[in-house]
Symmetry: D4
Subunit: 253 residues, 8 copies
Amino acid sequence: MEIDKVKQIFQLLSEQKITFEDATKIINNFGFTDLDFAKVDTERKVRTGVPEIVYGEGKSASQIVKIVTTMLQSQNNILVTRVTPQKASDVTKYLPELTYDTSSKMLLWKKHTLQKTKGKIAVVTAGTSDLHVAEEAALTAEMFGNNVTRIYDVGVAGIHRLFARIDAIKEARVVIVVAGMEGALASVVGGLVTSPVIAVPTSIGYGTSFHGISALLTMLNSCATGVTVVNIDNGFGAGYSASKINHLGEYTN
Amino acid sequence: MEIDKVKQIFQLLSEQKITFEDATKIINNFGFTDLDFAKVDTERKVRTGVPEIVYGEGKSASQIVKIVTTMLQSQNNILVTRVTPQKASDVTKYLPELTYDTSSKMLLWKKHTLQKTKGKIAVVTAGTSDLHVAEEAALTAEMFGNNVTRIYDVGVAGIHRLFARIDAIKEARVVIVVAGMEGALASVVGGLVTSPVIAVPTSIGYGTSFHGISALLTMLNSCATGVTVVNIDNGFGAGYSASKINHLGEYTN
Amino acid sequence: MEIDKVKQIFQLLSEQKITFEDATKIINNFGFTDLDFAKVDTERKVRTGVPEIVYGEGKSASQIVKIVTTMLQSQNNILVTRVTPQKASDVTKYLPELTYDTSSKMLLWKKHTLQKTKGKIAVVTAGTSDLHVAEEAALTAEMFGNNVTRIYDVGVAGIHRLFARIDAIKEARVVIVVAGMEGALASVVGGLVTSPVIAVPTSIGYGTSFHGISALLTMLNSCATGVTVVNIDNGFGAGYSASKINHLGEYTN
Amino acid sequence: MEIDKVKQIFQLLSEQKITFEDATKIINNFGFTDLDFAKVDTERKVRTGVPEIVYGEGKSASQIVKIVTTMLQSQNNILVTRVTPQKASDVTKYLPELTYDTSSKMLLWKKHTLQKTKGKIAVVTAGTSDLHVAEEAALTAEMFGNNVTRIYDVGVAGIHRLFARIDAIKEARVVIVVAGMEGALASVVGGLVTSPVIAVPTSIGYGTSFHGISALLTMLNSCATGVTVVNIDNGFGAGYSASKINHLGEYTN
Amino acid sequence: MEIDKVKQIFQLLSEQKITFEDATKIINNFGFTDLDFAKVDTERKVRTGVPEIVYGEGKSASQIVKIVTTMLQSQNNILVTRVTPQKASDVTKYLPELTYDTSSKMLLWKKHTLQKTKGKIAVVTAGTSDLHVAEEAALTAEMFGNNVTRIYDVGVAGIHRLFARIDAIKEARVVIVVAGMEGALASVVGGLVTSPVIAVPTSIGYGTSFHGISALLTMLNSCATGVTVVNIDNGFGAGYSASKINHLGEYTN
Amino acid sequence: MEIDKVKQIFQLLSEQKITFEDATKIINNFGFTDLDFAKVDTERKVRTGVPEIVYGEGKSASQIVKIVTTMLQSQNNILVTRVTPQKASDVTKYLPELTYDTSSKMLLWKKHTLQKTKGKIAVVTAGTSDLHVAEEAALTAEMFGNNVTRIYDVGVAGIHRLFARIDAIKEARVVIVVAGMEGALASVVGGLVTSPVIAVPTSIGYGTSFHGISALLTMLNSCATGVTVVNIDNGFGAGYSASKINHLGEYTN
Amino acid sequence: MEIDKVKQIFQLLSEQKITFEDATKIINNFGFTDLDFAKVDTERKVRTGVPEIVYGEGKSASQIVKIVTTMLQSQNNILVTRVTPQKASDVTKYLPELTYDTSSKMLLWKKHTLQKTKGKIAVVTAGTSDLHVAEEAALTAEMFGNNVTRIYDVGVAGIHRLFARIDAIKEARVVIVVAGMEGALASVVGGLVTSPVIAVPTSIGYGTSFHGISALLTMLNSCATGVTVVNIDNGFGAGYSASKINHLGEYTN
Amino acid sequence: MEIDKVKQIFQLLSEQKITFEDATKIINNFGFTDLDFAKVDTERKVRTGVPEIVYGEGKSASQIVKIVTTMLQSQNNILVTRVTPQKASDVTKYLPELTYDTSSKMLLWKKHTLQKTKGKIAVVTAGTSDLHVAEEAALTAEMFGNNVTRIYDVGVAGIHRLFARIDAIKEARVVIVVAGMEGALASVVGGLVTSPVIAVPTSIGYGTSFHGISALLTMLNSCATGVTVVNIDNGFGAGYSASKINHLGEYTN
């Protein structure tokens, strides 16, 4: 809860600049707009430093339209994740300003251009089939102003491909490793770089890949230190966390 | 593989400062000392920026003694994780310079005092029983020169305890959340702070806690963004990753 | 088994008001009508205090029509759960008196208006996508005469939304918390209210949400006491149990 | 968070009965005493209506002594759950006022006698081996002033034993069913009574009982409505929730 | 392997009624017809006492036609299990002699009427949705000449329905209990009858029913003795085993 | 419930041979003796045709002594399963009439010699390590008057050992197959015999045997028909069910 | 990494036949062609002794066309696995030289005829439904020049079919056993042959077959030694490994 | 079954060199000695090409003594696996000829020196803690006459250690990779060598390593082709299979 804001309201109250009724009302309503089926978080930027994200799965096209329309008032960039092509087409009929990215399955509205970071985020994939998740991570990071390097299809089955690109990976301030099947790439990269590594297991594979569980377990048990993990296929979460970490290097300048 | 080093050796070779035989020999042996049952990584500091860690579980006291003795030559600090009290006592008979920390179950040798970071790492626990894992994280981070704030026993069952300390948590550059049972604290903290959060599930609980699986799943599915996860009870991994991230802010000064 | 009824029949027998043959026949047939493929429980209201429910999944439209037709004779309200839109349309062709609620996927026949309880049941959801299950719970509770308050989309990722509505939740005699993904809302609410909490995990999420298992485990391991749990997506069961509990407060007046 | 208390402090502030500094301090410290390794919740009674509980597992005897000593100041009854006989003996050396109950493995301090409820809670077990968990439930309920009826060893393998006692079970306002192995008793009881049923799976069994998972699944899938479930072996949680529900009937008098 | 047949061939050989070459050939080819993709077991009746069964799942319509055509030569009854309506229609175009039973999803060819057993097999289901699996069991048993009694929809949620039909169940020599969701019916029936009980878990249910795993575990852990279990939805296997057991009573006359 | 008995009491009541009060009392108490912590089922023999069994696991030695002492009055044979050597020794101090069988870990009291069946039960094991479970099955069957043939250590890794004994197995009226590790023996035997097969998975093995789960799954999926399965290590259940089936052949003589 | 190649480049460098810049460039690019979304491994044959394989699942038809077109330059045979009929038809429109095999779902381009091995690989299946996976194994082995014997539908339910073909199986240098359901065939074959056995679990079955997990566990726990296992339905992997092993016998000639 | 032997006996019979009775007796008894609790396989060498192995787990010291004593008559080497130090000491009191190897926990009796293979088997481990399982593999392979190279502690966290030894690994005809935790080493080695790779997951690790399941899944999903897998900690099985494969190269000379 907004302890800082509460204190600020105390201050105003104690200075008698606002009444007790006002203070109570402010507390009960600040931070979001109530759409009945959804509370749209119009002040999250203040709280977490980033524009609003809409988790698109399980929401109807019409719910997305209403939520995005409410958000437009706050003048932030907007990112809707996990949108099927059909749903995207239904949404953009009403909101043609939104762009649909087919590889990451995200709807984007980039109203403001953010300053690009000097530090880089490397997004590395084991195979071609991991590309959808990798693009979700890469685009998310770019939406938050990060400088992103893509290095795709360098899995350990042909490890010379990884070594050929290792310099570019080492250059990055944060590395995202996206891999399905057995997910061994995260351990190998984790042993080769000094930057923090965020591992994203993907549901690519069959049989005992168990829709990503095998890759997830590999990454959680990584013998290389400095590797943290997000949910299966959660490219967005990886891109978002990487952005937070990458900006730490920038902020202190 | 040490592409940079290989290039350097190319350079020397092309300048005829070393012979072809010497170049081959260097490649085959650089970076570790071979103890037959273990290859001690005497150059890891160069590669990953940190002193050598020994994973103590599954190694006998005598194996630990031999490995640590070899490491002593490289003048790094040393940290042996997951050491039972009995094994610790067997090791320190031979290596009295090592200190045993009972709460984190680590053996430490702090030969050099590192400069402390300005940025802080907050280690937050849900309950008193999560303390062992939290201390493993906190001490690891301190061994790598980080400024650490401990905030223990602020689980969501009595959420007012968390809000009373939220300012100290928000101040940190990186937050580690340690929680067992249902692990909900990670999501709540993740929704309240702007810094990256590393969640550590612990094996605290019974029945359907399944030795930490319940907390792990909670953390992987966190509805709050910016949360990444490590293995169950892996305090060391969290402390290590947090240190990498925390130093990003420092490096760029 | 209806021990009370058996005793009553004994009484009648011992008073020679019925014959031995009649007594045997009554025991063999009381309480239901036999449709061959289904035994319709026409006396359940007597036994459990509530109108008859039909579990719609796995039954054909024609089976539902036959079962409901039989029930109509007993003059109870009727509730058919888990009916797809297609099946609902097939059923209402023959039984136009039934109303289909698209959000809860239930068929309803409210022949009698029940007296509303003074005590309230609060139905709280973490996200917008949990709405289907929440409506199943809310409508079920309303069908049984409860006063229901809906508080939707107040998940812990933006916990200020929850605190803004906490008074309405605290006012309720019973609280139903509906949440998918990591399900942390149940623990947080459980720690803030004094009333009994029924937690409903939903199958919302992806990857390691494992179709609701993650939320289920979170809820079963809740560090907040006073939380009990029902099956994944079982809004009906939660609404039904909450109604039983809520009526306890009423009955004793 | 204590919205009510915050409002009260607003009131005081706006009436200038306290200073801004005092208000801030109150918010940061109210509700618990900080023992460094634990935040003892000295005001929980106000918040949730019940005395303080200590979860004993994973805490050392000395930690329990310190926590209980702090609690003594608030003049509540005390209940420490999941204490092994050895730990209990270590604790009572320092705190002889605590009584150890070997069947439920709880330490108790009943400083105040609570008024007994008129409504009853029935605790029903399938077998003799479920007795430990049942007693944890029964004693917890009694500590909170409930009238408890115990009906043990009436599992469905010999269902005539259950029917012989069904009247006593039907009389209760809330029923707790404790069962291991296949846990079928919960469904059978759930189909026979009109009161809410709380099912507690136990870890009794072998092989595919999977330490209580089989009973847990049975209970979550109960075809009888009105059954909610708690964690495996969580007698305390069942007793606590049952007490909350049972008191609803009392409060409204 | 047909030790008896081998001995018989020895006998013939030692009496020089067949040559060594013939003996070898007989051994290599007896008992089946080779269709290249399938070895049709034309002599299984001799070996196990029953007509040939074709497991229809995973076989194409044309493969089924070829296999059945080969079997026709051996003059046995034929039963093809797990055939979808579409596949059944494709098969019967070529083999109009086969009858498709929509409730059990089996193709049948009853060329010979078997003598009916005096002893009965009771097929009991918990709900209406378990009917498909129950019919697979009942029809299989009838195909093998058993006298079958069907008692459907007598689950434990309304246990008086079960007691009303318990006499018919007790009369049977073997009882098959078919139940999904929590599967408690098997334990209850197992505690009430003296005959062997075969329990068939079904995939009916949702959420934690895990497609039949919950019912399976319940049945394997049954506290009632005398219950054995088959695979989820394996009505055929239950009917087949029940037939074997039921005939034991007949054979010894 | 004892419908037959209820009818009998009706008869007596209607003939005025007993009073209404007596009838009620009889219903409430028939069938067991109440020991408070256990309801001893003194009439089960009448109900299920077999002597009383005590499940020893989770019961203290003193509880077993009290239960067995109560049973002694009903003049049945007694069998206590899953008794550790220590507990057995504690029990036999007070009840020296009981015999402890170390291989099956059962306590036995054979007061009456039952007539032996003509039909045989074959108990077949894959390995030497499965012997404990096999003996539990064999001794149980013998306690119930069955003629038992033991055929041990004939697993499929050396299938010639099985074929050497196949005649003895084929001779049996019921076959129990006991196997751990991958449990393939059940399928092979199931394909070779015409009698019903009861498969008992054992917890023998390591790694992916998962304490018997692997063998259990093998048996549930057996491609050979006529195989039913019991819980892991449940030798008692297999022996008991086999006895029921074997006696079917005897009864009809 | 290509240590041999690195050494060779050293040699050239030390002899001043190439410049330092050239050496670096060679290292960064040798071994593959970069298609941006994929790094095509044009030199894998040199590295692993086999032509290039494309894993078709998760790749679009257009990606497959581009990858195969790149490969055509290296004059190897080509094998694309796991291609649906629709995707195959889309690919062959552009690359009519590719042949689609419907049973194994592979696209093949056999530009060069390899010399056939003298040693044989036997591919053995339990049932007809395992044929797709078996053909993937058999065709893969043939693509690499192996002499393959197919022995289908010889599962243990009718073990005489296996013994009738055991000589052909014993003749093979390597045996691949393909089985779903309970997978017992691998253990039986493993106990009968002296050659190495590669077991392939298939997803054939229902209920507790858990899409191949049951067969996988059976095979991993095989009591017969000399059995190794690959992923569920991984016919390609089995054929590939068998080819490597079979060629060992050839190479040493 | 020994079809070849059966044919041979036919031959003898048809030539009247043996009687029919003799032939039957031979079939029933050939291949093993019956110890009642175990059938000792005295002819397995003939059948599978290797000396007899005793699986020590679950067998008592006295059972092992009896089995080994019986084997001694067949003049083979002997290997008893999975023997605890205590059991080993109990066995060697009676059979001092047996040697106990503490690292592999095997009892060995090497009566005959086998000719060593020219081809090598490489045993590679990821860490020092995997040594026990690796030695079980290496010693087994040596017992069967293989030339074994050990390369320990070359896990992917410090991949330069692996590359420094890659030449020795490439030289081997078969490679065994032993790894716990995330098991990524198998994929990396699999991508670098042309020989067949057998992967052995070990139970080394904690938390989500799940006693080896994580490493097992990694290996089954290996993106590198040519990798087959054995049970967790099954060093013996890997050594045995590797020996079979390695000898293929030798046999054809």
